[in-house]
């Protein structure tokens, strides 16, 4: 009897050992296969048009309104959604076998919004009123997924320009865009003939970038500082670590022709004002709602609501843009490239995701691409160019309600890949360089 019992124990022990060994072998073989598989572009570059030597693959598709994205040191991706997808607002994407495609998609969080960033062991994510953070473990996985820390609360959300984009510096600060809930600070928003308010009262709590501490809980307006003002709405922003400065992309004002048909033709209204990149510092004033930047005259012009006629120049105290792009293309993502994968030309330069225009109608729409601006020593060193194109899916889809994909967020992977999120088709793209 004893022998039988002993044999049984021995048998089960052996079984357990064999089981473990096999499991071990299994995971080893997974590792081996992951080493064997490499990231390669999709046959059609996931529908994108790219410069020679670049390729694109769709990492994930159908995620819904994928706004901004962040990539961990392990190459895992966090995606922030502005509408719930399967009841969740943040998605964690992981590639098991090394082919670059997301094999694991895990959702958590129930607050919809735009901003997301990974910094110093934390994942930061915003709703349209608050900013939260999750501690990341050594593998970059968010812990306490149901109980994030609330870093910032009580930010204004009055319906228009409500998204709260975020960026972090290297000194423990977080920067949050608080968009103006208005087109140009008229008494009645977007109403022809309605006068402007002077001074514009919106600017005390919106229409700028606010700075907060990245590790302090429950901060609100009184705890932070208004870092920069006169910015109508910023969606794309990034900290440039080469020169330690915050850069932002402003969404310029709409409807110059609709509101002032005697001063602006539909063609002028489609081109103006410029979509501007600004390099900010504490106290920057970029002019909204009093002025805009005209990229054709290369001048700061007084807004017609504030007495402008399309020609009168604005105060020289207003900051000049670093780069001025054609109007209404809706820059939603900004990223300074610091990777080593792309050719030298791209290092230190800026990628900008242009979501695509609507306010150029009845003129043809523009944007729906990712642009690139080369930089040297923190300043543009050449003209901007289109980098990744054809997100919309062809000229007949170059309209906001028809575009198959609209680029929105940008992130850089640890290997130097460029990631692009799309909030129309819910695709996450990865751009790789394979040329010599």
């Amino acid at each position: 009897m004893k022998t039988t019992f002993f044999s049984s124990v021995l048998f089960f022990a052996m079984l357990a050992f064999a089981n473990q060994s096999c499991a071990g072998a299994g995971s080893d073989s997974t590792k081996n296969s992951s080493a064997a598989k490499t990231v390669s572009a999709d046959k059609d570059n996931a529908g994108l048009k790219l410069p020679a030597g670049f390729g694109a693959l769709a990492v994930a598709t159908g995620l819904g309104e994928a706004r901004h994205i962040a990539v961990t040191a392990n190459g895992d991706i966090y995606v922030k959604l502005s509408s719930l997808y399967k009841g969740k607002s943040i998605y964690f994407l992981h590639d098991n076998n090394g082919d670059g495609k997301a094999d694991v998609q895990t959702g958590f969080g129930d607050f919809t919004g735009t901003g997301i960033a990974v910094k110093n062991g934390y994942l930061y994510a915003s709703s349209d009123e608050e900013v939260f953070r999750y501690k990341l473990d050594a593998n970059g996985n968010a812990v306490n997924q149901t109980q994030p820390e609330k870093i910032i609360t009580g930010l204004l959300n009055r319906h228009e320009h409500e998204s709260k984009s975020i960026a972090l510096d290297n000194d423990g600060n977080i920067y949050v865009n608080i968009g103006a809930y208005s087109n140009d600070c008229q008494v009645k928003d977007r109403v022809k003939g309605s006068p402007s308010i002077n001074p514009c009262p919106i600017l005390d709590s919106a229409g700028g970038i606010w700075q907060f501490k990245a590790d302090k809980l429950n901060q609100t307006y009184g705890d932070g500082t208004r870092y920069a003002t006169g910015l109508r709405n910023v969606v794309g922003l990034d900290w440039n670590s080469d020169i330690n400065a915050l850069f932002v992309m402003q969404h310029g004002r709409d409807q110059l022709h609709d509101l002032f048909p005697d001063l602006y033709t539909t063609k002028q209204s489609a081109e103006l004002p410029a979509e501007c990149m600004y390099q900010l510092h504490q106290g920057s004033n970029c002019g909204w709602p009093y002025a805009y930047y005209d990229e054709i005259q290369h001048k700061k012009i007084i807004n017609p609501e504030y007495g402008g006629d399309g020609k009168k120049e604005a105060s020289p105290d207003i900051q000049d843009p670093v780069v001025a792009f054609p109007g209404h293309m809706a820059p939603n993502g900004l990223l300074f490239y610091t990777g080593n994968m792309f050719p030298e030309k791209y290092k230190h330069g800026a990628f900008i995701a242009f979501h695509g225009s609507w306010n150029r109608a009845p003129e043809p729409q523009k944007g729906y691409f990712v642009a690139f601006v080369p930089f040297k020593d923190g300043k543009p060193s050449g003209d901007w160019e289109v980098f990744a194109d054809n997100f919309a899916g062809g000229p007949e889809y170059m309209q906001p309600g028809k575009a198959k994909h609209r680029p929105c967020g940008l992130a850089q992977g640890p290997d130097g890949s460029l990631y692009i999120s799309d909030d129309s088709g819910g695709t996450v793209y990865r751009i790789i360089y394979t040329g010599k």
Binding site: E160, K188, V191, K192, D254, P362, Q399, P400
Partner: protein
Amino acid sequence: MKKITTGIFIFVSCSLYLFAQTTVQPSIARGKKLYIQYCLSCHQEDGSGVPKLNPPLIKTSYVSGDKTKLIAWVLSGSTENIPIDGKYYSNNMAPQANLKDQEIADVLTYIRNSFGNKAGAVTAVEVKAVRGNTK
């Protein structure tokens, strides 16, 4: 007698149809011009709108449904976060109360009979009644 009744019915129907055609078609044509001037830049040439910002005008319950609600929306504009067929749109809509009753009737008749929509015409009398109530 039955034949006469049927005859009158057909005559009245045809007259009403022709009347509708002769008043609705010009209204649609006038409405299109007004649409280009006042609505197009936000709602787009084909009424497809802008996701998350400006609602589409294609087969939505607001456009094809209750006229009173639609007329009131155009007269008063909107700065509220009101869902349209379950979706939210962020941009404020300017009130269009400066347009005449007939102009609002025309532009709504155009919208309700364009972009794949097939809904009844809006008349100046209907606009006037709603304007009286919203003041």
